[in-house]
């Protein structure tokens, strides 16, 4: 089932790679990925459409929430 993740992160070199890498390397396919700065230019929003089984995805979301430069992870459907 496709899931959409919306992730707020610090808008810095390396952050994008770390977050996307988390999903790309763990049997979770990324169908679409967009990143853009928010009104606060120091913060970016990344939107990922991913496929993977739900427990694996939940684990990845927990891992993403642990990343130092991640502010928020929202998952839909949760």
């Amino acid at each position: 089932m496709p899931h959409t993740l919306s992730i707020l992160l610090q808008n810095e070199a390396g952050t994008l790679l770390r977050v996307a890498g988390l999903f790309a390397t763990r049997s979770c396919n990324i169908d679409a990925l967009t990143v853009r700065a928010t009104d606060d230019p120091s913060i970016a929003r990344m939107v990922l459409e991913v496929r993977g089984d739900v427990p694996a995805l939940d684990r990845l979301v927990q891992k993403a929430r642990r990343l130092v430069d991640v502010l928020e992870v929202e998952q839909s459907p949760p």
């Binding site: 992160l9 610090q10 390396g14 120091s42 684990r59 927990q62 891992k63 130092v68 430069d69 502010l71």
Partner: protein
């Protein structure tokens, strides 16, 4: 946690012009760093030069340097020394290495610290910012490599952010769930002309918000009521303590909590020392090679509370069959990602362990909670006696367990012990007593062979007055054998014990069990290393090999009593196995206790008693 975590309100050097390298050294000093581990190279020379000058100008009257640098044989050694220092002291370990190979040699210790939640700060040199991405000499993608395994990595490209970045690295390493933080520092940033501020950290809004949330988390009355309601109904409660208890400094709170309500405690490999292993209600380690009585207690318990423990696959290989009779599972952890990750729980709390435990103790006391657990205590006492650890005491060959018993008689649970990885590590975990946390230093979640020797160096430097023993395997020790020379050079009184079973014992144990006894890669016929001569060549004045079991007691006594570095190789039974064993993916009901430890099946009356539950 370090000696001087709070620099004075206005830093005496605030406003001074410093180079980037001098800024790095000053921040290290401000963070209370008292010992550095590192290896030089072109891309980090400015930092080492600034350190040299700092140590020369700030040396004490006795010539003592404020931040002595310990140089290993290999950067991996520096990483594990810093980790051993951190594990034994509770302070942040610091390692400084050069770019390229210096940094890549540090990947293993960084991943090891991440896996065991050990606070570490690594400063790496890097090629100049203009050369980044040009395949320059000794350029490695540190940001990518370390980003995948560290708690966090910074590549400092803006010299103005260097000071705040390094200070933040310490905050990240020690706060929340501790871990390793890498600061990748291009050479031109080290040489930049800066003005020192003496204060300031990076914003890190997401991390700080989460930290604030968990730091402020407090157990409500309703949560305490629910916890004690379940405990009141329980007849066979059990606490399962992990490395988080040690990391959080929560051992005293755990002991007070367990004592207040008479709760027995089993610990994971990383949790050893959280309670005094000699206490009547301490069941020692659980899991794949846990004691039979700890694993039976997990089978029997009707209430299980995990504290700073994560149900990893060496403890909980079959999650759906783990603690099958537990009607109530509780978990307290600093990391929300660990709660319910493996095993769904009925009650949970995310926050600092010591505070949660203090609160539960106070609440239970105030409400007169006094569970009557006499029957459970009696059952556990019987189980400890009937399923006690044991081994082949009649064998003419030296048994590894006998060596450890002899060490224990001298050390009395007071030694700091590091290990390699394999059978010797599990025997040491099973057979040695530990009175306090931070005495047992082992590569738990990564299982990195070669950890023992450098970790012992770091531990001895952190606690110079303690007896530090590296209990190593004959193949693990070779992975960082270069550090034998470091021990002798620094004249550290580390005791290095090699349990020599002629190879990769743990690999052979698995090959015997699961691969029809085909010793692929683990049988290495031919010439063997002469450890004693190697140790002597490296400068060990006391180096012996023991093959006669009758000389065991006196040899161990002389070994431990020697005033200086000592090396002892003990030729042990090459076929000795680690028991009990719960196979990978198996449940505790499938535990094999081996030929010398009574299982429940063997002791029929007890099996019946177990079945009663």
């Amino acid at each position: 946690m370090n000696a001087q975590p709070n620099p004075p309100a206005i830093h005496p050097r605030a406003g001074q012009p410093l180079t980037g390298a001098e800024v790095i050294v000053q921040v290290l000093a401000d963070e209370g760093v008292q010992m550095l581990f590192g290896y030089a190279g072109g891309a980090i020379l400015p930092v080492f030069d600034a350190l040299y000058r700092h140590n020369a100008t700030h040396a004490g009257e006795d010539g003592r340097e404020p931040m002595p640098l310990v140089v290993p044989a290999n950067e991996q050694g520096a990483g594990f020394m810093a980790a051993g220092y951190a594990r034994a002291s509770g302070k942040v370990g610091v390692a400084i290495v050069t770019s390229g190979p210096g940094a890549t040699n540090m990947v293993t210790p960084v991943q090891d610290c991440m896996a065991d939640s050990i606070p570490l700060v690594v400063v790496c040199g890097q090629v100049g910012t203009a050369a980044l991405g040009s395949d320059a000499f000794q350029e490695a993608p540190v940001h990518h490599l370390m980003g995948a395994c560290a708690k966090h990595v910074f590549l400092v490209t803006d010299p103005a952010r260097l000071e705040a970045t390094l200070r933040s690295a310490f905050m990240l390493a020690r706060s929340g769930r501790p871990g390793p933080v890498v600061v990748d520092c291009p050479k031109d940033v080290q040489n930049a002309a800066l003005r020192f501020h003496g204060e300031g950290e990076l914003a890190l809004p997401g991390y700080r918000a989460r930290l604030r949330r968990s730091d402020q988390a407090a157990l409500s009355d309703a949560e305490c009521v629910a916890f004690f309601e379940a405990l009141r109904r329980a007849r066979r409660p059990l606490l399962y303590a992990g490395g988080g208890v040690v990391a959080a400094g929560a051992a005293p709170a755990l002991r007070a909590f367990a004592d207040a309500f008479g709760l027995p405690v089993t610990t994971s490999l990383m949790g050893i020392g959280a309670v005094d292993t000699r206490a009547p209600l301490a069941l020692h380690m659980l899991g794949m090679h846990g004691t039979a009585y700890a694993n039976y207690a997990v089978e029997d318990c009707d209430f299980l509370c995990a504290l700073g423990a994560r149900f990893d696959d060496r403890v909980c290989g079959a999650p759906d069959r783990f603690a099958p009779r537990a009607r109530f599972l509780a978990q307290v952890d600093i990391d929300p990602g660990e709660v319910g990750k493996v095993k769904p729980v009925h009650w949970q709390h995310v926050g600092p362990l010591a505070r949660a435990l203090d609160r539960l103790t106070a609440w239970g006391r105030a409400h007169g909670v006094r569970p009557d657990l006499a029957e459970w205590h009696a059952h556990l006492a019987r189980s400890k006696r009937d399923h006690a650890m044991n081994y082949d005491r009649a064998s003419p060959l030296i048994q590894p367990q006998a060596v450890l018993e002899a060490i224990d008689r001298h050390a009395q649970g007071r030694a700091i012990v590091s290990t390699g990885v394999g059978q010797h590590q599990m025997w040491a975990a099973q057979w040695l007593a530990f009175r306090e946390p931070r005495q047992w230093l082992t590569s738990g979640a990564m299982g990195t062979m070669g950890f023992g020797l450098p970790a012992a160096v770091g531990a001895q430097l952190a606690r110079p007055d303690s007896l530090v023993i590296d209990i190593d395997g004959d193949t693990s020790i070779r992975m960082n054998a270069g550090e034998l020379e470091t021990i002798a050079r620094l004249e550290l009184p580390v005791k290095v014990l090699v349990l020599d079973n002629g190879g990769d014992g743990m690999v052979r144990q698995w090959q015997r069990l699961y691969y029809g006894g085909r010793f692929a890669a683990s049988a290495r016929p031919g010439r063997r290393r002469d450890f004693v001569r190697a140790a002597q060549a490296d400068g060990f004045a006391w180096a012996r090999r023991l093959d006669d079991r009758n000389a065991l007691e006196q040899t161990i006594a002389a070994f431990l009593a020697f005033d200086g570095p000592a090396f002892l190789e003990v030729a042990i039974d090459p076929d000795a196995c680690v028991y009990p064993m719960v196979g990978p993916g198996a449940s505790y009901a499938q535990m094999v206790t081996g030929p010398h430890i009574a299982s429940r099946e063997a002791a029929a009356p007890l099996a019946a008693a177990g079945a009663m539950f």
